[in-house]
């Protein structure tokens, strides 16, 4: 089976880039030894151009910022895309060319893998361009990686997970823009 860890976000705008930074962070910190093929990709700001990548996989964990009324900065959500009530009003979103619309197009075509969405509520977006993440979002990272590891173990109980505790997401976020993934050879 092929498993994709896909981080999405615009790294020029602080917390908005958390998904992309998180993918680089996981790639740097962890090694997953599994009978399945686990691939990590920084999906950056692209929508439609991700379709050919996503359809190559059986399971996808998509990490992105998420809005949810009444939540706090740094709250983490984890759910199956199929469980998402599709009453989304795109008129309410400024960005029609975006992750949800892309997934919806794939669903319309009946060509979509099993997708888990991990969302985190961002604090700072777009006030000034910066690679830096807010304390709240950095604080959420431990929870996010825990969820990710547990989900991978759910898929493959024999998966060995090696990690390097010295890696910090703040340092990674400064170099994501030019960093090569170690684990995206597929």
């Amino acid at each position: 089976m092929k498993i994709l860890i896909l981080g999405i976000g615009n790294i020029l705008f602080g917390d908005e880039g958390v998904g992309a930074h998180f993918a680089h962070y996981i790639d740097e910190k962890y090694q997953f030894l599994s009978k399945h093929q686990i691939v990590i990709i920084d999906g950056g700001t692209l929508a439609h151009q991700l379709i050919p990548l996503i359809v190559e996989f059986d399971r996808v964990i998509l990490i992105d910022c998420i809005e949810n009324e009444g939540g706090d900065y740094g709250d983490v959500f984890f759910f199956d895309y199929a469980d998402m009530p599709m009453t989304i009003s795109w008129q309410g979103s400024a960005h029609e060319v975006e992750t949800l619309q892309t997934l919806e197009m794939m669903r319309t075509q009946g060509d979509i893998p099993s997708i888990k969405i991990m969302g985190v509520i961002p604090k700072r977006i777009g006030s000034d361009p910066t690679f830096a993440l807010s304390d709240e979002v950095v604080g959420a990272v431990a929870l996010m990686e825990e969820i990710l590891c547990r989900y991978l173990l759910e898929i493959d109980p024999e998966c060995q997970i090696l990690s390097d505790s010295k890696v910090e997401i703040r340092a990674i976020s400064q170099i994501s823009f030019k960093r090569d993934m170690k684990q995206n050879d597929f």
Binding site: E67, E69, F77, G119
Partner: protein
């Protein structure tokens, strides 16, 4: 009776965030229009003080559509500054990746972003698939995905979405609007192509990845050349390029071209799409190297819709000013000296028409003051339109044989007069014709590359940056949305100043100090709106430019969804 004000915010099915406000008189004719970008983009700020060789990788993150355009512009502005002699192979690779981007971008734009302004999805459900199959032969000898059985399947698929109360991707249309002009059968043909476009764009995206190293953000350009050496020297990778290119070409020839032809015939008498432009000046950049000497598109401009002569661009006459933009400095500045100091003044309360047609007070733009994050670029103090249409018109005026051929053939096939080019319909056709040019001639670059590789495998020229020297350089070129330019100054080996003048800035900018409007605003004035609660005409016009108001935020918006139950409690960590 006082004029009524309509606000559309956000305009969806575009990249980024744009607000349009118009005033209409008692006959619902637009008397004034304002275009406002409501997101601050201080992208130039983040590259200051960095290594110039990193700039390309950073600026490609500006946007979620045209990454490789900005990537290349960031690299080539630096190459221009330090004067690099670029290997031919690198020139061809960059040209091929640009072609792939044009193909991807234009197909996605016409079908997935702009198409539903022309195509009424709900009407397609009433079509007779057999008749639709016959209809498709009127526009193409070998139609694409319009067999009776396939069209039936398309109807069933969409009908199921409608019955389930979930229109999904078709949820927000002004279905039934009187300015939709296609018959149910024609709508069905286009709907089938819409679904196929989702498939075909994959091939175009993969084209970019073959030589770009990866998607979504390619990584094979460096200052001095390209790094995709192994892929260049691998015949199987080049063969894959050719195959995928041909798949995309088949779609362009047998779906995209015929659909625009069909729309051209059916919409020829719809006033809102054949209203002539008010900004009569058009400018385009160089683009798509076909071989060592020739480009497919050449830089230049035309004035007053005059196709009899084209002029050369004098770069010193490009200025940006901020009379109505949320920045400190109002006076016109050349991009080398551009400033990006914000000065946000906000909105004022105004009465506007809501979706039910009622007059309500909401915060609206203050057109007497500053009202947009976009600056107003001017050339020789005149506003210009840029984009695929401008590229076609300038090429036509220059006597570019390739461009003349496709434009003349289209005008002949559709029966449209030359003046129909200077309209919303013409702008949409221009984008298709630009795509057609690339599928017809792009392989020349591929062949030139193969020919060159036989005796030259170089891909990189070392190019050190001297920290004791100051440099300045720029990239100006034609990208899918028009003429893009990046301007850089380098001092002490670091970026001293950086400015991007992007195509949508030329088109979407606010009024200037002389009260002259840019294309978005000027070209809306005079248009009559059929139903002011469903202003499809405005959206169609604005979409025809393929706005790209560089995406800043794309938070997954889950309004109306109860996601609380999926929140993970930190106690989970145990």
């Amino acid at each position: 009776m006082a004029n009524k004000r309509i606000v559309i915010d956000p305009i969806t099915r575009i990249e980024g965030h744009l607000r349009i406000e118009v005033e209409v008189d008692e006959n619902n004719v637009i008397t004034n229009a304002f275009s406002s970008s409501t997101l601050w983009r201080g992208l130039e700020v983040i590259v200051k003080g960095r290594d110039p060789k990193d700039v390309g990788l950073i600026v490609q993150r500006i946007c979620g559509v045209c990454t490789s355009s900005h990537y290349r512009a960031g690299i080539e502005a630096v190459e221009d500054a330090i004067k690099v002699n670029l290997p031919l192979n690198a020139k061809y690779v960059r040209s091929m990746i640009a072609q792939a981007l044009f193909l991807h971008d234009h197909i996605v734009h016409f079908y997935l972003l702009h198409g539903l302004d022309w195509v009424d999805v709900i009407s397609a459900l009433k079509a007779d698939p057999k008749k639709a199959e016959q209809e498709s032969f009127k526009y193409c000898k070998t139609p694409y995905a319009t067999g009776e059985a396939e069209l039936k399947a398309v109807q069933e698929k969409v009908q199921k979405m409608v019955d389930g109360g979930q229109l999904g991707i078709f949820a927000n249309g002004y279905w039934g609007n009187k300015t939709y002009k296609l018959s149910p059968e024609q709508n069905l043909i286009a709907l089938s192509h819409y679904l196929r476009a989702i498939e075909v764009q994959r091939d175009a995206a993969k084209l970019m990845a073959i030589l770009g190293g990866k998607q979504p953000h390619p990584q094979s350009f460096v200052v001095g050349g390209v790094t995709c050496v192994r892929d260049l020297l691998d015949p199987s990778r080049l063969a894959e390029w050719k195959t995928r290119f041909e798949n995309v070409k088949a779609f362009v020839d047998c779906a995209y071209y015929p659909d625009v032809l069909m729309a051209g015939k059916m919409y020829a008498n719809e006033p809102s799409v054949v209203q002539e432009v008010s900004v009569p000046n058009f400018m385009s950049g160089d683009g798509i190297a076909l071989n060592a000497q020739e480009n497919l598109f050449n830089a230049g401009y035309i004035l007053n819709k005059d196709l009899s002569q084209a002029f050369k661009i004098d770069e010193n006459l490009i200025m940006e000013e901020c009379t109505h933009s949320w920045y400190q400095e109002n006076k016109p500045l050349h991009p080398y000296d551009g400033e990006t100091e914000p000065n946000y003044t906000g909105f004022v309360e105004k009465m506007t028409i809501d979706g039910e047609g009622k007059n309500v007070a909401i915060p609206a733009i203050n057109e007497k003051g500053k009202y947009s994050w976009i600056k107003s670029p001017r050339y020789d103090s005149k506003p210009f339109e840029v984009g695929p249409l401008a590229c076609m018109l300038v090429g036509y005026a220059q006597g570019n044989e390739r461009i003349k051929r496709v434009v003349d053939e289209f005008l002949q096939a559709s029966g449209l007069p030359v003046k129909a080019l200077f309209t919303t319909l013409g702008r949409t056709a221009g984008r298709m014709l630009q795509t057609k040019l690339i599928v017809d001639y792009g392989m020349e670059t591929f062949n030139a590359l193969i020919e060159n590789l036989k005796n030259d495998e170089s891909t990189y020229t070392p190019c050190p940056i001297d920290e004791k020297k100051e440099y300045r350089g720029r990239y100006i070129g034609e990208v899918p949305r028009g003429m893009l330019s990046h301007w850089i100054r380098i001092k002490d080996g670091k970026v001293e100043n950086y400015q991007c003048v992007v195509p949508s800035t030329w088109n979407a900018g606010p009024e200037d100090s002389q009260g002259k409007k840019g294309p978005y605003e000027a070209n809306l004035i005079g248009m009559k709106i059929e139903d002011i609660t469903k202003p499809l005409e405005i959206i169609r016009e604005i979409h025809s430019y393929d706005p790209c108001i560089a995406c800043a935020v794309h938070v997954m918006d889950t309004k109306g969804n109860k996601l609380g139950e999926y929140k993970i409690d930190p106690k989970y960590l145990g």
